[in-house]
Amino acid sequence: MSETAAEPKMAITVDFSGGLEMLFSNQRRHALSIPAHDKDGKPSNIAFLISHLCKTLMKDPRTDLFVLDDHIRPGILVLINDADWELEGEEAYEIQPGDNILFVSTLHGG
């Protein structure tokens, strides 16, 4: 009981699209339980989620296809509940239980 209280979790869904799913076990939707706070005790935000995904969910070794210099790589859009993260505060957005975070790779073919 106290252990659960010490490490509260929250349930979210994380989606990958536009080819990014290939980096995450070829699975487009992941139901995750992530720590509610980062190791400094601050509410988990998108920046935390991105590094958390790299550490725990990504099996593919090509992390530079997802993250460059500790930030999401250019050419990937981040959507918070189907809205561009610019509308929500980008990396600083504090994730809420039940949120859906979508990472989608920009396409250029035709």
């Binding site: 699209s17 050419g75 859009l77």
Partner: protein, 329 residues
């Protein structure tokens, strides 16, 4: 070229109350009776000029419906020739036209669907030197290209010439569609909720190592086909309902934009799955931000000019440093 092709960006409203010819009426009757279209919408299509950049997997189906709907002047830009590996998805070409310039092959097909429009071939690739001279001849641009450098170039010129842009892309089992710069607002104006340009939505291109073309990564025909047809649908509604123009009482492009035209910008993404039927996540409509204050192209302190583009500023090739890609797609 028609007489009014030279009239640059004049709004094409002049003959929107003439009578339809008997053939026009016969051809377009089934779309004219759709509520909201009517004779007025049809005449707007007939009097409009649409530029389709790219005659490949997006451009072929898009052009079929643009031609069918009776858009009066249809320009097509592409420097490639028809190859056999194109034909599974580029359904406006044909085995009997292998080796033809794509623009000529597609126009031959379109003329047989509908001989009434004025078709203008631009049988070369769009580049910083020719982009403005071509785009200025049209009322609306459809980006059906296959590489990021051309996508940024098209958007930049559309911002400067104030042309609405219907942009789509597709690779493997994914597609994307977005209406940009519609209605167009003067560069630098950021005080209202103006619509975004391509750079507002996609600030930086991906690093070359992460980019894939249809030639390298493959493409399912119906996926790119859906996006091309959807592009035609968006272009037709913009022209038929004059969503890109100030209220019809005025041709002044700096007049305030009607509220109804300032919509939430939406990026449509389509995900095709070979292992399961169409479902709740096949289509998603994503809410995008509007014009960005600090956008390189349309933002407050933008230094982007047509002169600059022509003389190599910005340099689209170094900006995107594209991989050596099979361009013929």
């Amino acid at each position: 070229m028609t007489a009014d092709t030279g009239a640059a960006s004049a709004a094409p409203m002049k003959s929107n109350d003439r009578r339809l010819t008997y053939e026009e009426f016969e051809r377009y009757s089934r779309q004219m009776i759709v509520p909201g279209m009517g004779k007025h919408g049809q005449l707007r299509l007939i009097n409009s000029r649409i530029l389709i950049i790219g005659a490949g997997g997006l451009g072929c189906p898009a052009a079929q419906y643009i031609a069918g709907a009776g858009v009066g002047t249809i320009g097509i830009v592409d420097g490639d020739t028809v190859e056999i590996s194109n034909l599974h998805r580029q359904v406006g070409h044909a085995t009997s036209r292998l080796g033809w310039k794509k623009v000529d092959s597609l126009i031959a097909h379109l003329k047989d669907i509908n001989p009434l429009p004025n078709y203008i071939p631009h049988p070369f690739h769009l580049d910083p030197q020719n982009a403005a001279d071509i785009i200025t001849q049209y009322d609306l641009v459809m980006d059906c290209t296959d590489n990021p450098a051309t996508r940024y170039l098209i958007s930049d010129v559309c911002v400067l010439l104030r042309k609405p842009l219907v942009s789509a892309a597709s690779v493997q089992k994914s597609g994307q569609l977005i209406v940009l710069n519609c209605p167009p607002a003067p560069q630098g104006l950021v005080d209202k909720k103006y619509p975004p340009c391509y750079r507002c939505c996609f600030k930086k291109p991906p690093p070359p190592s992460s980019m894939v073309s249809c030639g390298e990564a493959g493409i399912m025909g119906p996926v790119v086909g859906m996006m091309g047809v959807a592009q035609a649908g968006e272009a037709i509604k913009i022209i038929a309902s004059a969503l890109h123009l100030p209220p019809s009482s005025t041709n002044d492009l700096t007049a305030p934009i009607p509220e109804r035209n300032l919509q939430q910008p939406t990026l449509l993404i389509y995900t095709y799955d070979l292992e399961s039927a169409v479902g709740p996540y096949s289509f998603r409509a994503l809410r995008m931000a509007g014009r960005r204050k600090n956008c390189f192209a349309c933002g407050e302190n933008s230094t982007l000019t047509l002169e600059g583009i022509k003389t190599g500023n910005p340099n689209y090739v170094t900006f995107c440093s594209p991989p050596t890609t099979d361009h013929a797609l």
